[in-house]
C-alpha cells in the first residue's frame, strides 16, 4: 500500500490530479490509500509519519509567490527519507529534469500543460513505477565509503574494479555503466570491504564480477567486456576463486 501526497496550491490543478489518482485507485484495489492534498508545504511535512519507498509525492514547484518552494520541500523530504519517490508536476518553463534528478533524485517530471489524456498517462506511470519498486529489497548491499573529502555509495554488485589515476590519491571506480573518481588510497578501499581484492599494483577488483582470465596477456575480463590488468602472482588465487 503506497501513500500518496500532493502539493499544489491551485484549486483546479488539485482537483485534476486528485481525480486521476482516485480513478486509478478504484481500478487497482488496495494499491494505495486515498491521496492527501496540501496547498502548504509545512502542512504536508507535518502529515508525513512514515518513510520508505512506499511514500509517493507529487509536488508542484512554484507555490504561491515562491518559485522554488516545491524543490525546498523535496530537499526536506529527502533528508528524512532517502527512499521516497518524488515526482514533480510543473509547468514547462520550470522544466529542469536533469538538475532536479541530481539534486533530489526525483523520479520524473510531468508537465502540467499537457492535454488531459497524456497527463493522466504519465501520472499513472509514476504510480505504477512506485508500486514496482515496492517489490525490490530496500536494504541494498552497498559499498559505502566516506571521508572528509568524499562520499561514495554504490550497490556492491555493480562494482567492477577500482583503478589508480595519475593524480596522487585519486581513485577511479568503474561499474558497468559508470566511471567516476574520488579521493582515497587503495589501502583505504581494501579496508572498506573484505570482498575486494587487489589484483595488481594499480587495480582492485570485485572478484564476483570477473568472467574470465587471460593468463597469457595477464588481463581480467568482466561481464560487459571491460578489462583490467592482473599481476602474475595473483592469477592463481583468482583462477581458484572462479572455479
Amino acid at each position: 500500500m503506497i501513500n500518496i501526497f500532493i502539493l499544489e496550491d491551485e484549486i483546479l490543478q488539485q482537483a485534476r490530479l486528485e481525480k486521476i489518482i482516485i480513478e486509478f485507485v478504484m481500478q487497482n484495489k488496495n494499491c494505495c490509500t486515498t491521496p492527501k492534498v496540501f496547498g502548504d508545504p509545512v502542512q504536508l511535512l507535518d502529515a508525513v509519519v512514515e518513510s520508505g519507498a512506499h511514500q509517493l509525492y507529487f509536488l508542484d514547484i512554484a507555490i504561491r509567490a515562491e518559485k522554488t518552494k516545491g524543490l525546498q520541500l523535496a530537499y526536506q523530504i529527502r533528508q528524512k527519507d532517502p527512499y521516497a519517490t518524488i515526482v514533480f508536476v510543473t509547468t514547462h518553463s520550470q522544466f529542469m529534469p536533469l538538475t532536479f534528478k541530481y539534486k533530489v533524485a526525483a523520479l520524473d517530471f510531468i508537465d502540467k500543460s499537457l492535454p488531459n489524456e497524456e497527463f493522466a498517462k504519465q501520472i499513472r506511470a509514476a504510480i505504477e513505477e512506485t508500486l514496482n519498486r515496492q517489490g525490490k529489497t530496500i536494504a541494498q548491499d552497498a559499498f559505502t565509503f566516506k571521508t572528509s573529502l568524499t562520499q561514495v555509495q554504490v550497490p556492491f554488485n555493480k562494482i567492477l574494479y577500482f583503478e589508480t589515476s595519475a593524480i596522487v590519491h585519486k581513485v577511479i571506480l568503474h561499474t558497468s555503466t559508470e566511471r567516476f573518481e574520488f579521493y582515497a588510497s587503495m589501502a583505504e578501499i581494501l579496508k572498506a570491504d573484505a570482498r575486494l581484492y587487489r589484483c595488481h599494483k594499480s587495480f582492485i577488483v570485485n572478484p564476483q564480477n570477473i568472467v574470465s582470465i587471460d593468463k597469457q596477456q595477464k588481463v581480467l575480463y568482466f561481464m560487459d567486456g571491460q578489462s583490467c590488468l592482473v599481476a602474475r602472482e595473483k592469477i592463481k588465487f583468482l583462477t581458484q576463486y572462479l572455479k
Partner: protein, 434 residues
C-alpha cells in the same frame, strides 16, 4: 682555512644551481628538500670533491626526468642542463674576464680560494639583474615552454649546452696533456656566453610573442561569439516585439467577443492564434535564453555559439541553468575549454543518433557546483575504460585528444571530480566542483 672556503664555495654553487632551476622550471623545492640536498652536497664535497661537481651536474637532469615526470623529455633535459650552464658561464666570465679588471685573480687551482668564494657569491645577483635588464620574462618563459611552442629549438639549445659542458669538462681533465687547455677554456667560455645569451633572448622573445598571439586569437574568438550571441538575443527580441503587437490586437478581439458574449468568437481566437503562440514560446530557441543566468560573458557566448550550432543541425536542446551561477573556482580559460570540449563531443555523437538530443545543466547543490552534459548515443552503452586516454576515439584514427586535454586541465584542480555514465542510449559527463 682554504678548505673551509672551498666548501663554502661549493655550497654556494649548489644553492645557486638550485635557485636557477626553480626559476626556470617552476618546480619549487620545499625546505626539507633544500636541507637534504645541501647536507648531501656538503658531505660529498668534503670527501670526494670531484665526484661532488659531477653529481651536481647530473642530479638536476635525473631529478627533472625521473621525479618530475614531465611528458616532455626535451624540456626535462633543458631544466636539468640550464642551471648548470648558467652557473658555469657566469662564474667563469667573472673569473676570467671581469674580476681581472679589478686585479683579482683566481687562476685554475692555484688561486686564492677567497676570491673563488667571492665570485660564486656574485654569480646569482649578476645573472638575476642581467636577465632583468634584458627583459627576460621568466614567468612567461615557463608558460611558453610548457606549451611546447619551440620544441625543436629546445633540442638545439640542449645539444649546445651539452657540448659546452662536455668540452669544458674534457679540457679540465686533460689540462695536463693539452698545453693551451686553460686558454681554450677561456675562449670557449667567451664564445659560448655570447651564443647562450643570444639563444636565451631568442627563446624569450619568440615565446612571449607566441603567447601574445594566442591571447589575441582568443579575444577575437570571444568577440565573434559575443556577436553571435547578441545577434541571437536581438532576433528573440524582435519576435517578442511582434508578439506584443499581435497580442494587443488579440486582446481587442477578445474584448469584442466578451462584450457580445460571443463564446464562439473567443473560442476561435484561442484555437487559431493562442495555441500557436504557446508552441512558439516553448520553442527551444528560448532555452538558450536561460544562459542569461550565467554571469561571465565569455562563457555565456561560447556556450551560446555551440548550442546555436546544435540547433541548426536539428538537435533537440535543453538548457537547465539554476539561478545565478558564478563558476569562479576555475580559471575562466580552463572553464571555457572544459565546457567547449564536453559540448563538442556531445554534439558530434548526438548528430549521428536517431534521437538527437543534448542537455546542458549547470547548478549548485551542497556547496558544490555541478556541470552536466548529456547526449543521446548510437550504442546503448559506450565503453568507458579508455575514455581519457590519448588517441582513443570512437570517431576514427588520429582523433581522441579532446578528453585528454580536458583531463589535463582538470588535473590541475584537486577539488574537481569527473563522473561519466553511459546506459540506455544516454551518455553523461558530470563535473563536480567542490
Amino acid at each position: 682555512m682554504e678548505q673551509i672556503f672551498k666548501e663554502l664555495t661549493f655550497l654556494v654553487h649548489v644553492i645557486i644551481v638550485l635557485l636557477i632551476y626553480q626559476q626556470i622550471s617552476g618546480n619549487k623545492f620545499r625546505w626539507y628538500q633544500w636541507s637534504c640536498l645541501i647536507l648531501i652536497c656538503g658531505i660529498l664535497s668534503s670527501f670526494m670533491p670531484v665526484l661532488g661537481t659531477v653529481i651536481c651536474l647530473f642530479f638536476l637532469l635525473v631529478y627533472s626526468i625521473w621525479f618530475k615526470q614531465t611528458d616532455n623529455l626535451r624540456l626535462a633535459f633543458f631544466y636539468g642542463l640550464y642551471p648548470n650552464v648558467v652557473a658555469s658561464l657566469f662564474s667563469r666570465v667573472l673569473t676570467d674576464y671581469l674580476l681581472p679588471l679589478f686585479g683579482l685573480y683566481h687562476v685554475g687551482f692555484n688561486g686564492d680560494e677567497r676570491v673563488h668564494f667571492f665570485i660564486e657569491l656574485l654569480v646569482f645577483p649578476l645573472y638575476f639583474y642581467l636577465t632583468k635588464f634584458i627583459k627576460i620574462n621568466f614567468s612567461l618563459l615557463k608558460q611558453g615552454l610548457k606549451k611546447l611552442y619551440l620544441n625543436q629549438f629546445i633540442v638545439v639549445m640542449n645539444l649546445s649546452m651539452c657540448s659546452y659542458l662536455a668540452i669544458l669538462e674534457a679540457l679540465r681533465l686533460m689540462r695536463n696533456y693539452i698545453p693551451q687547455a686553460i686558454l681554450l677554456q677561456e675562449r670557449l667560455v667567451g664564445i659560448y656566453t655570447i651564443i647562450f645569451l643570444v639563444m636565451l633572448v631568442y627563446l624569450n622573445t619568440t615565446l612571449v610573442e607566441k603567447l601574445k598571439e594566442e591571447i589575441v586569437y582568443q579575444k577575437e574568438q570571444q568577440l565573434q561569439e559575443l556577436i553571435t550571441y547578441s545577434q541571437h538575443v536581438e532576433d528573440l527580441y524582435n519576435e517578442i516585439k511582434y508578439f506584443r503587437h499581435d497580442y494587443l490586437n488579440i486582446l481587442t478581439s477578445i474584448h469584442t467577443g466578451l462584450e457580445n458574449r460571443d463564446l464562439i468568437a473567443i473560442q476561435t481566437v484561442y484555437d487559431q492564434v493562442l495555441t500557436k503562440t504557446k508552441e512558439q514560446f516553448t520553442d527551444e530557441k528560448y532555452h538558450i535564453a536561460n544562459l542569461v543566468k550565467i554571469t561571465n560573458p565569455a562563457l555565456k557566448s561560447v556556450i551560446a555559439t555551440k548550442l546555436l550550432a546544435a540547433q541548426s543541425q536539428n538537435i533537440k536542446l535543453r538548457v537547465e541553468i539554476d539561478a545565478q551561477i558564478g563558476l569562479v573556482k576555475l580559471d575562466i580559460l580552463d572553464l571555457i575549454n572544459v565546457i567547449s570540449i564536453l559540448l563538442d563531443n556531445a554534439l558530434e555523437e548526438a548528430r549521428l543518433t536517431k534521437e538527437r538530443f543534448l542537455v546542458l545543466a549547470i547548478f549548485e547543490v551542497n556547496n558544490k557546483e555541478v556541470i552536466i552534459v548529456e547526449n543521446s548515443t548510437r550504442k546503448a552503452k559506450v565503453d568507458l575504460t579508455n575514455l581519457f586516454v590519448r588517441g582513443y576515439s570512437t570517431k576514427g584514427a588520429k582523433r581522441g585528444y579532446g578528453l585528454v586535454k580536458l583531463r589535463k586541465i582538470l588535473d590541475n584542480y584537486p577539488n574537481v571530480l569527473i563522473k561519466t555514465k553511459s546506459s540506455g542510449h544516454i551518455f553523461s559527463q558530470i563535473i563536480e566542483i567542490n
